[in-house]
Amino acid sequence: MSLSALRVTVAVFPGSNCDRDMMVAIEKLAGRRPALVWHKESSLDATDLVIIPGGFSYGDYLRCGALAARSPIMEAVLDHAARGGAVMGVCNGFQILLETGLLPGVLVENAGLKYVCRNTCVEVVGGTASPFTDGLETGQRMIIPVAHNEGNYFASDEDLQRLEDNGQIAFRYADSDIVGPSNPNGAARDIAGIVSPNGRVMGMMPHPERAISPELGSADGATLLTACLEALSA
């Protein structure tokens, strides 16, 4: 399949604010505009990748991502994932995926109690086969920004160990001369992103769609997204 034949869907919730950036990034990199689907829809048209974008779905009420995770469209996303469909959540999208239980753990308030908006150095860990990391080198480092108040990844010790043992840690924050100290939020084991046991569902806090050209400070997000899109169209 060519890249432009890949069908990408971006879910939109009330309060999503990275849906358009993600759409622009995917259109630029894949050559085809993704479909946007509203949270009240209860089914998805045939799609190769569903992206849950960043933002403040439902105003972050109750807990970040909690209400979005129970919305009609997420039922359809859960079905898509159960059939082995690829799902990617960024920032609030990651929080939503954790609230659905598709991925283990939870994102709690940043250890510094402050909203953090800055570049981070993201290192590829990987391990288990996954379209989200297979096209990247283990140890490869990318400059990708974060922007969040609840990005502090937490899980039970058993879950953390399982993630390590199964190679489900996709990305870690790493120290870098360019962006300074690594972990921006206190996340356990410096976790920036994880994948499901079958590698088909990935959630990450950093925003690759905000780093798609040197004019934005980094084009490393384009590298990450292109690698995903290529792996999914292979």
Partner: protein
Amino acid sequence: MQVIVNISLKYGVLDPQGRAIGRSLTDLGFQEVGDVRVGKRITLEIDETDASRARQRVARMCETLLANTVIEDYEIEIDEGEDA
């Protein structure tokens, strides 16, 4: 019937907000303050007269949505005096 749900962080889960509040209280001269934990209280008005049925339903609500049991515990309080 009114049902109150108290949601608290599980023991062992870091509570940065509670810690900041504790530090401020100490700074304000309340030296006796040790650990501080911040929780949530949700008040539900429920169309139900049987307390044990209400408790069962609200427990389901907690498990389904109100609490994230990875990090949170919940307690259900029912004021029987409020029965219709």
